[in-house]
């Protein structure tokens, strides 16, 4: 196989051709500033409204509750910092989890160290799912915000968002969810789940990079994060990224329409890949929940080998994946998510995430597993940990 096998769709996806086609006129033809009064700008203003409307529909939200941002990280930062600022008179306690994206975790650390917030980081079970009783126990009269991701980006575990939303509502606590991996991959209804704020990013669903949104329920009193203009109902200054917003609208529309059919196909391929890897390669473990799992996520740990060398070898065969090893995280510690589900460091270092797309084929997965078998064996033959293990067995 000479073509690229791209199995890193949780990192980013290919921008769909129809998304690009929809965006292009907004660079050269309809380039007017949506804030301008003349007629020429009306088309861009209408296009932004249309995209906002379509995205709101997908979430069962109101159009004016969608606030465009430069992406998921900005939305997460905004939600947490602005909610803390707005509600600190009521209390200073925030509850989140140990498996959040760094856009949440590092923002919490900032609020803790610089702004005097108290943060509770909930543990998760061995499948990477929050226990509701832990959440209930963590709530204090000072708690102003609960932030739990919809589905985890590394191990794909889907959180009990509806139940968490119910608990938050009962206690009168704001509920934010980072849905960057879940938006248009899983059905989301912000009313049914009592979600007050939700972060999302276009490039995970075949939209362009550099555009995301924060859903803010009407009545939630958080203020602007970027000052300087009246855009986004005075809550996020800056001339709108019109082509990006248009692209996001089309991508969301497209992904929402195909969600059910896509999920069905991806789940079948995902489970096929998991079953081939776990049955044909020894000393391997599936990370995350086998069922409550994103349709496109596979995450496994291979004992005795290290993730970066595995990725480089796969790259040599034209296969793109990712790993939670320290070498790929830029620190000495492996992924905080894998440690949170209780993996020992050495097993966490040998993790591999393969995330599928709507275009992934069974042939590609077969080729990947065939190569993976060879590579894992070669790396094990080179590993002193494997040598020690084999000697102990004799």
């Amino acid at each position: 196989m000479n073509k690229l096998i791209y199995l890193d769709n949780a990192a980013t996806t290919k921008t769909a051709p129809e998304v690009v086609d929809a965006m292009l006129p907004y660079f050269t033809e309809y380039y007017g500033n949506p804030s301008s009064v003349y007629d020429f700008a009306a088309e861009t203003k209408a296009a932004v409204t249309k995209a906002r409307h379509r995205i709101a529909e997908v979430l069962n939200a109101k159009t004016e509750e969608i606030y465009f941002t430069a992406g998921g990280s900005e939305a997460d930062n905004w939600a947490l910092k602005a909610a803390f600022e707005a509600y600190k008179g009521k209390g200073n306690h925030i509850i989140t989890t140990k498996i959040e994206h760094h856009a949440i975790l590092h923002t919490c650390e900032y609020l803790e160290k610089v702004r005097g917030a108290k943060i509770t980081y909930l543990d998760v079970d061995e499948n990477g799912i929050v226990r509701l009783e832990d959440l209930e126990k963590a709530i204090t009269p000072e708690t102003i915000l609960i932030s739990v991701m919809f589905a985890n980006n590394e191990i794909g575990s889907i959180q009990p968002i509806k139940e968490i939303g119910m608990i938050a509502r009962e206690h009168g606590i704001l509920f934010h969810t980072d849905a960057v991996q879940a938006f248009c991959q899983l059905p989301i209804d912000v009313d049914e789940c009592n979600i007050d704020m939700l972060s999302s990013s276009a490039h995970k669903i075949n939209g362009p990079k550099g555009i995301g949104f924060l859903y803010i329920r009407k009545g939630v009193k958080i203020r602007s994060f970027v000052h300087g203009g009246a855009q986004e109902r005075k809550r996020r200054a800056g001339t709108e990224n019109v082509p990006g917003i248009v692209g996001y609208g089309v991508a969301a529309d497209r992904a929402a329409r195909t969600m059910e059919e896509r999920a069905e196909k991806e789940i079948e391929l995902r489970d096929y890949l998991i079953s081939r890897i776990t049955s044909e390669i020894p000393y391997v473990k599936l990370n995350g929940d086998p069922v409550k799992r994103l349709p496109n996520n596979v995450n496994v740990s291979f004992q005795f080998i290290e993730g970066e060398s595995l990725l480089l070898m796969l790259d040599g065969c034209g296969i793109c994946g990712s790993s939670g090893s320290a070498c790929t995280s830029g620190s000495l510690d492996p992924s905080h998510v894998l440690l949170a589900i209780g993996l020992p460091h050495e097993i966490a270092h040998g993790s591999l995430r393969l995330s599928l797309s709507e275009e992934t084929t069974k042939e590609e997965l077969d080729y990947t597993v065939d190569k993976l078998k060879e590579i894992v064996q070669n790396l094990r033959n080179m590993s002193p940990l494997y040598e020690d293990f084999i000697k102990k067995q004799k």
Partner: protein
């Protein structure tokens, strides 16, 4: 990310394996930090020439490449000469490493020293400039904290 030489030594590592009844064996690093290197030496007791050197490594691309290069650099050298194979020499031979991977070359130097230390202990000799190897290569490193 890596130089061509690093990729070559990673994809086609030289001298992978074990030496039975090796003159000296050294293992450094730990699985917690994600890299372990084990070096096997076959040393001529008369001339103190390193006749053969093999390695096994659990680690990233740079860890494998530095192990491979280190074995090439010490084969044929005397113990005294092998003592001069520093992490800098290994890095230079590989046309450099990304800054975050410099510790891998330190690990390679430590692994050679650990194997020589084992040889010296077994034969009750002293090797000039050689001290007991550190058990953990990362013990001197500090984590860099994010600034706000």
């Amino acid at each position: 990310m890596y130089s061509e030489k690093v990729m070559d030594h990673f994809q086609n590592p030289r001298n992978v394996g074990e030496i039975e009844d090796a003159s000296g064996v050294g293992t450094v690093g730990n699985a917690k930090c994600g890299d372990i290197m084990r070096i096997f030496l076959d040393i001529d007791d008369e001339t103190h020439v390193i006749k053969d050197c093999k390695f096994k490594t659990f680690g990233c691309g740079a860890a494998v490449a530095t192990s491979s290069m280190a074995t090439e650099l010490v084969i044929g050298k005397t113990i005294e000469e092998a003592m001069k194979v520093t992490n800098k020499a290994v890095m230079e031979a590989l046309d450099g490493l990304p800054p975050v991977k410099v510790h891998c070359s330190l690990l390679a130097e430590e692994a050679i020293h650990a194997a020589l230390w084992d040889y010296a202990q077994k034969n009750h000799i002293e090797i000039e400039g050689l001290s007991k190897p550190k058990s953990d290569i990362h013990e001197d490193e500090e984590e860099i904290e994010e600034e706000y």
